[in-house]
């Protein structure tokens, strides 16, 4: 019975079987391609390799800011009396605690603004001066801390200056953006820069006066624009040809580099350990995980994931001696 069955099943020649195998293999390959496409289109950010497009050191003055690291170290020292068993090494503290916490906090609060601005550039006639101002204003409202605001604005204005003086009219429009869209985005940046200059000249006098006497609970509307780093970074990076996921990656890598360099200058470890930290796969993985976490976060839903970070950064003002601005 079984014998007769098996004989009736294979009446074909060897060539038939070969055909069948080829057919199945073709189907398999097709299915694999479809699966690959599905994977990449299902709002999964494509992350560039860490070495590409991240080498340029934009002169943003980021070295002046430690993003709460200096304050954190001081609080650890003065609020947590050293235990008799001894403290973990500064390298461990930095790599396993402060760096990832700072990265998570920075990504949650800023990345949605980078991505929103970057996506506006790639959509024709979306990045207008008004749209950029709205993003900038929304981020200004979302930073509940004077020190963090200062750092964000200082670097944002530096980037705007670099764009105006070095990039405007020089960079070739990226392929992903239509010629018209790129022109319009450039126009938007120019308009925004003018607006920033206008509102900063009108508020400079009042803000320097308020620094002396903290009496700023008036009911005047806040200035229209401040020039925060995140939305400007998204817009400029897109005009330089970075895709939104690349812009987000480079933005966070810049933060990590600034933190590592701050740690070196704060005496936590030396330059070899610094390079080791940057070269390690963990930083790349963590940044990738952060970009994925914030990939679909709307700017209205940006928020603080590490509340104690606000306290450390806010209390930077209280340090007796400081080498950083934040």
């Amino acid at each position: 019975m079984t014998v007769s069955n098996s004989t009736t099943r294979i009446p074909q020649s060897e060539a038939d079987i070969d055909d069948e195998i080829a057919d199945l293999e073709h189907k398999l390959a097709e299915a694999k391609i479809r699966r690959q496409r599905f994977k990449s289109s299902a709002s999964q950010p494509r992350i560039p390799s860490p070495s590409s497009k991240t080498d340029s050191a934009l002169p943003l003055g980021s070295f002046a800011f430690s993003s709460g690291l200096e304050s954190y170290l001081s609080h650890q020292k003065h609020y947590l009396p050293s235990s008799p068993q001894g403290q973990p090494s500064p390298v461990t503290v930095f790599i396993s605690s402060f760096l990832p916490l700072s990265l998570s906090s920075y990504a949650a609060t800023s990345l949605p603004f980078v991505l929103a601005a970057a996506r506006l550039v790639s959509q024709p006639s979306q990045l207008t001066s008004a749209a950029l101002t709205a993003l900038d204003d929304a981020q200004d409202a979302a930073i509940p801390c004077v020190v963090a605001r200062r750092a964000s604005i200082a670097q944002g204005r530096a980037l705007l200056g670099i764009w105006e003086r070095s990039f405007d009219g020089v960079v070739r429009h990226p392929a992903a953006v239509t010629e018209e869209g790129a022109k319009q985005a450039e126009e938007a940046l120019r308009g925004f820069a003018t607006l920033v200059r206008k509102s900063s000249s009108s508020t400079l006098a009042s803000s320097s006066a308020s620094a002396a006497a903290p009496t700023t609970m008036d009911e005047d509307a806040p200035p229209a624009s401040s020039a925060h780093l995140a939305p400007l970074f998204g817009a400029v990076a897109s005009l330089l040809g970075l895709a939104p996921e690349e812009a987000a990656y480079v933005f966070l890598l810049g933060h990590v580099k600034a933190l590592v360099s701050a740690a070196v200058r704060a005496g936590m470890f030396g330059p070899y350990q610094a390079q080791r930290t940057l070269a390690g796969g963990e930083v790349h993985e963590m940044i990738t995980a952060m970009v994925e976490r914030e990939w679909e976060t709307e700017v209205e839903d940006a928020g603080q994931t590490v509340p104690v970070m606000d306290l450390w950064v806010g209390r930077h003002e209280l340090l007796y001696s400081r080498i950083f601005n934040s």
Partner: protein, 332 residues
Amino acid sequence: MNSPFPKSSSSPGKGRIVVRLGPDGSTSRLETCTYQYPLKLITPMRPSQTKSALVFLLSYGGGLVAGDTVNLSIDIQPGARLSVVTQGHTKIFKSPTPDVVTRQTLTAEIASSAALCLLPDPVQPFEGSVYEQLQVFKVARGGSLCLLDWVTQGRAARGEHWSFVRWTGKNEVWMVDGDGSDGERLLVRDSVILDCKQVHSQIPALRDAMHGMGVVGTLILRGPLMKPLGEFFLAEFAALPRLGARDWRSEEAKKAEEEKMSPHERWRAERIQCEKENKLLWSAASVRGCVVVKFGSPEVEASQRWLGSMLAKEGSIARHFDEQAMMCLRCH
């Protein structure tokens, strides 16, 4: 005579409070106070205070069960004042699955020269709970707001330490043109996202990210009535001792200086000592016409005492809203 039990409104979890200035021009009266399960609003039958209307924001059973939705809208008419308090921590019970979200939404409109004081007990999310809170305040020119939003680690006695699934809290303060046109501007959007999901093995888990804090919170102040209080917080923050400064004075010199201290300086010195012992950290910042105070401490009571002491010392809350507005900050 008004019934002590306000009528129930029709939609689940919905509540509405309207406060208007009485004919005497100084007493605030509750014109509307409706609520529906699981929300419960209670107002004292014979109000003992006159400076502001008082409402207790409660829930049946003293907490919100998974999937409960509370949606409260508050409307404070020109010149009127309202204090909102709670009776004990707002407990958030465990959700069966992470997609069952417990929600509280509050929208408040504060007219010109009107004021809202929202000083509730903290929210206490239990292990496994999923909670989302949104509070939107539209403040007209001349209107004032005092808003406290704080969250604890859960039931510390049961070993809970930020053991919930997710807790998000968002507070928005909007500036509204007095004439009721659509001229609105967002002033502050304070948003905290606490999520137990660890997206990468090297990113510390939520309980480690909280760095030993048992409670964290935000106080937001806006408007002319709160201006002295906001400036008080900024001045006290500026007067905090520098971290890492050394005290080179001799014991005698220290003593001599302590004797010369004004009562306010003495109070400050004692408070700073308390802050240090309790590992309480706080900061105050002037943000777009508001003052935002952030604080946190390992023990809930330490923050409660600290905030109560600051508000009582400055006096604006008692002066404009009455002592009862601060009842959640009294230690039990």
